[in-house]
């Protein structure tokens, strides 16, 4: 019976994550894809690491953003490194684009899930190839899809409603960054695992840039925050 669920040497199984990254948001804009993620690595409820890069380049055309277990993300980056290496070794005019990377990762994630040994991540892959913009998402159980705007984790609940209202296909870079910051600020207020140090990445036909880390301004001068107990009866 045991062999149905486990094998002799199953010492490597992620049953629960240890060091995790929180939301990633991404959407298409006029010239390509914009993505944002903060640089936090939480150890349970402790915000343990504050310089974790969760947005990474993949080959010439793609960008990956990850939330979930950071060590599994590092493993995925190793797989992708090997994939791109072999792609380059062909030394022909062809190269793997974001669509191919997304589908490759979907196969990896789904196959791990079937072995009851998932890579505990939610991934966003975006990129531009031959003028064609691509943005896709894949999670730890292998669920995958493409869309004009995607998010992971809390981003799905806090950022996507904003994007549903305010996203347009022809956003300029500046408008896109403002929209990303609006979403990230929202997450910062409401997500316990968010940290105020984020990176924004943009990928266009010309190439990819990941910004230097920076912080968002936050506003705590709401009237309700001054003398918060003034109208309260009892200890609540």
């Amino acid at each position: 019976m045991d062999t149905l669920l486990s094998s002799e040497g199953d010492s490597q199984r992620t049953q629960y994550p240890y060091v995790t990254g929180t939301s990633v948001i991404g959407f298409k804009y006029k010239d390509g894809i914009l993505m944002a993620a903060d640089m936090g690595g939480s150890y349970g409820s402790t915000i343990r690491y504050k310089s974790v890069e969760r947005l990474k380049q993949v080959g010439k055309h793609s960008l990956i953003g990850a939330s979930g277990e950071i060590s599994d993300f590092q493993e995925i980056l190793k797989y992708l490194d090997e994939l791109i290496l072999h792609d380059n070794m062909w030394d022909d005019g062809n190269s793997l684009g974001p669509k191919e990377v997304h589908n490759y990762l979907t196969r990896v994630m789904y196959n791990r899930r079937n072995k009851f040994d998932p890579l505990w991540n939610s991934l966003i892959i975006g990129g531009v190839k031959n003028g064609h913009k691509y943005l896709g998402s894949v999670g730890m159980i292998g669920v995958h899809f493409e869309d004009d705007h995607v998010a992971t984790g809390f981003g799905n609940h806090l950022a996507r409603p904003i994007l549903r209202e305010e996203w347009r296909a022809d956003l300029t870079f500046e408008e896109g960054v403002k929209l990303l910051e609006k979403c990230m600020r929202n997450l910062l207020y409401r997500d316990r695992s968010a940290v105020n140090k984020l990176q924004i990445a943009k990928i266009t036909e010309e190439g990819l840039t990941v910004s230097q880390p920076y912080s968002l301004k936050t506003f705590w001068n709401f009237a309700a925050f001054e003398n918060p107990t003034v109208g309260a009866t009892g200890s609540w």
Partner: protein, 274 residues
């Protein structure tokens, strides 16, 4: 090529640095019935001569669809060709499953060539006795490759393999500079003309040849007999009606008359000049 003491094994070199078994395998390709391929900037066409063992039997399949964007025409040992086609289909399907994207032709051709090379360096194997004309479409446009039993592969604008392919090659050499800009129909017409060259006087009808096309916006497909016959009639390629004894001159006159009368754009010389 004469028998010699270095030709028993594929793993035996001759003192001149030749592998005779590999060369004999290429001979098998030359003995097969002709196959030709050509490409433009938008399409690639494969055509082949169909031999049947007797009137009672069906024609051998020489053109195989490998994927929506790749097809192959073979000459030589058809059984070897069938097996390699199955390998190619398998590779395409696996790549498509993992990447949701068509396998670039150039990569498939390299894999095929590497597979053929293995058989030239194992004492318990023999080289594949089939030449493959691989026509396919990828991001950089249509491509035509030729894979040899030796494990070599080359990219071509146009090529012909199999018996009497030299006649077709001569025709193609004269016309190939026009091919990049050719339309789909012009390309098919040139393919049919080239096939006719290899028939050496036999009448060209859709029962003796097969034509397949792949291109931008067109998945690889083998044209059905009616379509091919209609094209032959339209282009008036069939040649003379009677027995093939009158030879080149009459053919040239018929072809030239048809060309001037027809809508052909680029027929500056009669095809049957040899």
């Amino acid at each position: 090529m004469f028998r010699n003491q270095y030709d028993t094994d594929v793993t035996t070199w001759s003192p001149q640095g030749r592998l005779f078994q590999v060369e004999y395998a290429m001979e098998a390709v030359k003995q097969g019935s002709a196959a030709i391929g050509l490409r433009s900037n938008t399409h690639a066409v494969l055509a082949c001569v169909n031999k049947a063992n007797s009137e009672l039997s069906s024609h051998q399949r020489k053109i195989f669809k490998v994927d929506d964007h790749i097809g192959v025409a073979i000459a030589g040992l058809t059984a070897d060709g069938r097996v390699l086609s199955r390998y190619m289909r398998s590779e395409c399907i696996n790549y498509g499953y993992t990447y949701e994207s068509p396998l670039p032709v150039g990569r498939l051709v390299v894999q095929l060539a590497d597979k053929a090379q293995v058989c030239t360096q194992r004492s318990w194997k023999r080289p594949y006795g089939v030449g493959l004309l691989v026509a396919g479409l990828d991001e950089s446009g249509p491509h035509l490759y030729y894979n040899c039993p030796s494990g070599n592969y080359f990219e071509y604008q146009a090529f012909a393999i199999g018996s009497r392919s030299q006649a077709a090659k001569t025709y193609l050499e004269r016309k190939f500079e026009n091919f990049p800009g050719s339309s789909r129909d012009e390309l098919i017409k040139d393919a049919l003309f080239a096939i006719r060259e290899t028939l050496q006087g036999e009448k060209l009808t859709s029962t003796v040849c097969t034509v397949a096309v792949v291109g931008v916006g067109e998945a690889f497909n083998i044209l059905d007999q009616e379509t091919v016959q209609a094209l032959i009639n339209d282009f008036e390629i069939s040649g003379e009606e009677g027995p093939a004894t009158t030879g080149a001159a009459e053919e040239a006159a018929a072809a030239a008359a048809a060309d001037q009368g027809g809508a052909a754009a680029e027929e500056e010389a009669a095809p049957m000049d040899i």
